[in-house]
């Protein structure tokens, strides 16, 4: 694994187009935190030494004017407002606004205790109809309607999430049973998968590689092993994988 660019904070490396904004905010906030803690700390330690009880030393009844402290408080308010309005809000708006581009790969990911099902629409680009009543353990883990022709070429992959690098990926996230949370650290992606809801997220990877998908929301006794793998492929590798799955599908149906 590649080392983080920000060695003083143990952030994982970031291979996404939007992740730098997350990291930037985390880093700036931590500088602010350290500055405040150090300023408070110096004052605190100084007071503890200077104003200790001893012979001939008396406490003063009058409070100090503390103009500096008031200025510092206003400073904190300004800094927080800047972080909120200029860093957090725009980045979040970008993260939440799924791009309307025809060039995106759309995948459905359905969480269950304790695995991730990746549902690709196949060559036709159209997802087959699904319904919970069709879900079974005999190869229909996402509940594809056998009567729907659009579903014939749909590819379902367990725990293995292949997608090409440098391409917008849109994931519609849902869950069959309990709440899970879909997490890929190196892409700075985290989103709860809530049963009864379909939540879209998007991202674009900037580098190929193989990375862990983990679950961030307690989902039962196997929460810890709800591990998937994200394969960020070159377009050629992705095409190769996709064709192999198609061939498997045809082999199975014949």
């Amino acid at each position: 694994m590649q080392e983080s660019k920000y060695e003083w904070l143990p952030l994982p490396p970031d291979f996404s187009t939007h992740g730098y904004q997350v990291d930037q905010l985390i880093i700036i906030i931590h500088w602010v935190m350290i500055a405040m803690f150090v300023a408070w700390g110096i004052f605190f330690v100084y007071c503890m030494v200077k104003f200790r009880q001893r012979e001939g030393h008396k406490a003063e009844y009058q409070p100090i004017k503390a103009k500096l402290a008031k200025a510092a408080e206003i400073g904190v308010i300004v800094v927080e407002a800047v972080l909120l309005v200029f860093l957090s809000m725009p980045a979040w708006a970008k993260y939440k606004e799924v791009p309307q581009t025809a060039d995106a790969l759309r995948v459905r990911i359905i969480g269950e205790q304790f695995a991730w099902n990746m549902h690709y629409p196949g060559r036709d680009g159209i997802f087959g109809a699904t319904n919970a009543k069709f879900i079974n353990n005999q190869g229909n883990s996402v509940g594809l309607d056998p009567a729907d022709p659009n579903g014939k070429d749909d590819i379902v992959s367990l725990n293995e999430f292949h997608f090409p690098v440098n391409k917008t990926i849109i994931v519609d996230l849902s869950s069959k049973d309990v709440i899970h949370s879909f997490t890929i650290n190196v892409l700075r992606v985290k989103q709860d998968a809530v049963p009864g809801m379909k939540i879209p997220i998007w991202f674009q990877a900037t580098q190929t590689g193989i990375f862990d998908i983990s679950c961030a929301q307690l989902c039962g006794l196997g929460h810890y092993r709800m591990k998937g793998t994200a394969y960020i492929d070159t377009p050629q590798d992705y095409e190769k994988w996709f064709s192999e799955r198609e061939a498997e599908l045809q082999g199975a149906s014949q």
Binding site: L11, D23, M48, F51, A59, L83, S181, L221
Partner: protein, 585 residues
Amino acid sequence: MSDVVHPGHAAEAHHHEELGFIRKYIFSVDHKVIGIQYTITSLVFLLFGFTLIMLLRWQLAYPGQPISWLGQLLGETRMPGGVMLPEFYNQLGAMHGTIMVFLGIVPLAVGGFGNYVMPLQIGAPDMAFPKLNAASYWVYFIGGIVMLYSFFVPGGAAQSGWTSYPPLADIAPTGQTWWLIGMVFLITSSLLGSMNFIVTIVQLRAKGLSFFRLPFFVWAQFVTSFLLLLAFPPLEAAAVFQLMDRVAGTSFFLPSGLVVSGTPLQISGGGNPLLWQHLFWFLAHPEVYVLILPALGIVAEVIANNTRKPLWGYRTMIYSIIFLGVMSFIVWAHHMFMTGMGTTMSTFFQTTTMIISIPSVIILTALLLSLWGASIRYNVPMLFALGFLPMFAIGGLTGLPLGLTTSDIHLHDTWYVIGHFHYVVAPGTIFALFAGIYYWYPKVTGRQMNPTLGKIHFFFSFIFMNGVFFPMLFQGMAGLSRRLYDQTIYEHGKAVQGLSVYTSWSAWLLAIAQLPFIFNFFYSIWKGRKVDSDNPWQSTTLEWSAPTPPPHGNFPTPPEVYRGPYEYSVPDKPKDYSPQFEREG
């Protein structure tokens, strides 16, 4: 317990008929006995909750390694062959959180300190409704027994986290039903207590004790009571809803079309899992301030007393906690940024979250400014109160990146969150509670706790608390999810596994650092140095004018108040403190 002679004692004995042991010490309606009952019970629960997490930390440090004697002790359903099962791991985690929050810290901070100290500080003979007060303790006690019993039902105790998110909690084993019943008792207890506190503070203040002469601790309890009163009912409703989902076939929190392990659930459906989260956090965010406000109250008392000067910005601090209290009702959804929330809702909640950080900064600054120009006495309560300040600062500051949606993407549901709130509650609130115990112990028992043991307790606790919680911030930053039974199956988990070992050892050593306290607490009841006056810390507030220990009814004559709460080192006075209760200070 004490043979300090006080003129009030003899007269007092005639007022009250002698009560039997049971009426006097068990089913007492005296706020002080109830306060002590709360204190002892909640300290036992704190120790128990700590024990649960020490067990859990074994699995985190050494995943899958057996401890055979523990396996024999806990049985096949928990640790077969000495290896902890994931089910049991989840029970330990869920019950640790529940016990620490609802059975440990809140009952100690509010039920214990609030009950014992608040009526004395306002010069009241007792709480406004003494029987209601006793009822609130016993309802809490039953809630605690129900929670403990749940470990022994088939399938074990609740295991869906202290937050009990459905659908997981709806389909969890029987222990969850007991958890919900226990919660209904605990919530009821808090509601009874909070009403009693509010009425007492409004109605029973001594003559001359206006609101802006109240000690800060009383103000903190006052605001806390409003939070409990207003925030708990939604959770009580939510707990009953979840109970109905589990036992009566409703689907408040269950959407249609759930399939568990390949089998469709036979449910009515149509519910929404996020409804629970809204109801839960509508309580649980104000609850955070229930955990912290009484602690701030104690710290303010101890700091004023040991700096020998008035608190800096007494009124500013009061306005700040009122503002905190109000704001705490409109920040709850910052716990839910990753539930699919859009930009409108999240803009509102991250803005309110930034706003609520301001009064906390003001309070901390005021406490620090109180040190300037002081004459600081370094006794044990003061050490804990001073230790509280930087720890609370770390806890508060680490809340910032979690309160902004964008930085929360990476940090949400990681160990960073755990590090953050433990800094607020463990070396924060618990240090303040220790400060309070050492500070008011002489009033309760007539004896001082041993200061040497107290200092040992403080320094080692301070070191090991940081040893436990600081590495968590690093692990979270590295992207490690919380509540993992075995993090080593992930590359990034393996990379920070060493910190888990370090944390676990710090936790076990932290437990050893509590031994001097436990010994001191009991030893000093009988062998501690006797106090030579009713006011051993030379304090200004009303509780120190009462006989030691205060008898039933507290004050021989109704006290009168002549000045503000923190008149220390007033110029041209013979002594450096001017008590509220002395006409000529």
